[in-house]
């Protein structure tokens, strides 16, 4: 499977230094710098422009400014943590990127294009809460999604099925699954796609510790280094901070802090979890 992906990349004439299997290489892409502006000098090579660009992005619901002026650039290959209290704009921001909402002000671009039909194939979006047809079985959900999306990877689906301990649940209806199991199914269908951008809205919220652990491990072990970008919103900062390249703190629809995870730790002299606690105290 890895070989097929590599050949595809070579055919596309990928210019990135990254061209490897994680297991067998010494050279590699340096850890992406947070907020590195796109160097779009001359030709706009899709491989080098930032995957997500937001400029003074805003979205209002009635009188509430859910997102109120977000400006950010997210390059390819990063795992970004989006953190903040309820109502800080995380879900709205993700929906704007996914193209489920239209901005009221400002601009949002995914791979240089406005979110819509053209970008849908680039984005695998997992919303918060119940979103699966609860009368379907796990098997049926998988088959359903497999035909809906252009990038379904059955090998990955199979291995995730085992890793997430869902094999015995194939014939179980979604409504008969526990919260933790349902969360695993959601993740399975999201990660079985080879989409360049994966958006996860609170994938760990309200589920048991074992499921949370399995989900985090799946994210890490399935991460397509150099190819995949993940933006994940969560409250579970302590458990997830190890996986983030970069952390964006939202408050009242605006970015409060945005930085490389390691740099933030060095700057504040503590864990991201501590920063989170201090910032929203």
């Amino acid at each position: 499977m890895q070989r097929a992906r590599e050949e595809r990349k070579q055919e596309q004439g990928a210019q990135e230094e990254v061209k490897m299997k994680m297991e067998n290489t010494a050279a590699g892409m340096p850890a992406a710098e947070a907020g590195t502006p796109a160097t779009t000098a001359g030709t706009a090579n899709p491989e080098t422009i930032p995957l997500v660009v937001a400029r003074d992005l805003a979205k209002r619901f009635g009188r509430v400014d859910a997102v109120n002026g977000i400006t950010v650039e997210i390059p390819r290959g990063q795992i970004v943590g989006l953190v903040g209290p309820n109502g800080s704009g995380k879900s709205t921001f993700l929906k704007l990127i996914a193209g489920l909402l239209r901005p009221d002000r400002g601009e949002i671009l995914v791979a240089g294009r406005r979110p819509g039909l053209a970008t849908k194939r680039l984005v695998a979006y997992e919303p918060e809460g119940d979103c699966l047809y609860d009368w379907m079985t796990v098997q049926q959900i998988m088959e359903f999604v497999a035909v809906q999306v252009p990038d379904w990877d059955s090998d990955k689906a199979r291995s995730l099925l085992s890793f997430l301990n869902l094999r015995e649940q194939l014939a179980t209806r979604i409504r008969n699954l526990s919260n933790g199991m349902r969360a695993r199914v959601k993740l399975l269908i999201t990660l079985s796609r080879n989409a360049p951008l994966t958006l996860l809205d609170e994938p760990l919220s309200g589920i048991d510790p074992t499921s949370r652990l399995r989900i985090i491990q799946s994210l890490v072990s399935e991460f397509r280094l150099g190819e995949q970008t993940i933006i994940l919103s969560t409250h579970e900062v302590a458990e997830t901070e190890g996986i983030f390249d970069r952390v964006i703190f939202l408050e009242k629809g605006q970015i409060k802090i945005d930085g490389d995870a390691q740099e933030l730790r060095a700057r504040y002299g503590c864990s991201i979890q501590r920063i989170f606690e201090e910032v929203y105290a």
């Binding site: 994680m22 297991e23 290489t25 590699g28 864990s271």
Partner: protein, 176 residues
């Protein structure tokens, strides 16, 4: 909590995100500790970067950085198509042991100085603790403390463990 093919390496990651030491260096520290302990031998194959990232629950970019650093410093070498191997040098174990020991000493010295202890005192403590004598000493101290407490009239009871001179039971002693 070891998963997949990483079992048996004895690598367990207690990463401290609150520490100023970058995560990728902490990962390398753990590999070195495993070598010093003998859980990993010179020439052994390390778990794949992916396995390690999963084990440590850490960004694969970070693991990649750790691997690159280990390669640059000669701790490991990567063979295309086969994996990453610890340097096959018997001297590696001692080298790594000394390095980790030095790091521990640096921290110890810093803490002692922060507490205001002099060199002689610090050495005395180390000597005391070295063969477990230190343990016995602090047990004795708490026994004495317990005796004094139990002589105070009233509710206070000896709660620090067996007193060698205590032959009978006291009112209130249920489990001794």
């Amino acid at each position: 909590m070891l998963a997949g093919n990483a079992t048996g390496t004895g690598l367990s990651f207690r990463l401290d995100f609150g520490s100023t030491r970058p995560i990728y260096l902490q990962i390398i520290d753990e590999v070195k500790r495993a070598v010093a302990r003998g859980d990993l031998q010179p020439g052994d194959r390390l778990p794949s970067q992916r396995e390690l990232a999963e084990l440590a629950r850490v960004n694969p970019n970070t693991v990649q950085r750790a691997f690159r650093e280990m390669e640059v410093t000669g701790l490991v070498e990567t063979v295309r198509g086969q994996g990453t191997f610890l340097r096959n040098d018997p001297g590696l174990v001692q080298e790594v042991r000394l390095e980790m020991a030095q790091m521990a000493v640096v921290q110890f010295v810093a803490e002692m100085q922060r507490l205001g202890l002099g060199l002689a005192e610090a050495i005395g403590l180390v000597r005391c603790m070295w063969d477990g004598k230190g343990q016995a000493q602090s047990q004795a101290q708490s026994q004495i403390h317990g005796q004094i407490q139990s002589q105070v009239p009233g509710q206070l009871q000896d709660q620090t463990g067996a007193d060698a001179s205590d032959t009978g039971t006291r009112p209130g002693d249920q489990n001794r």
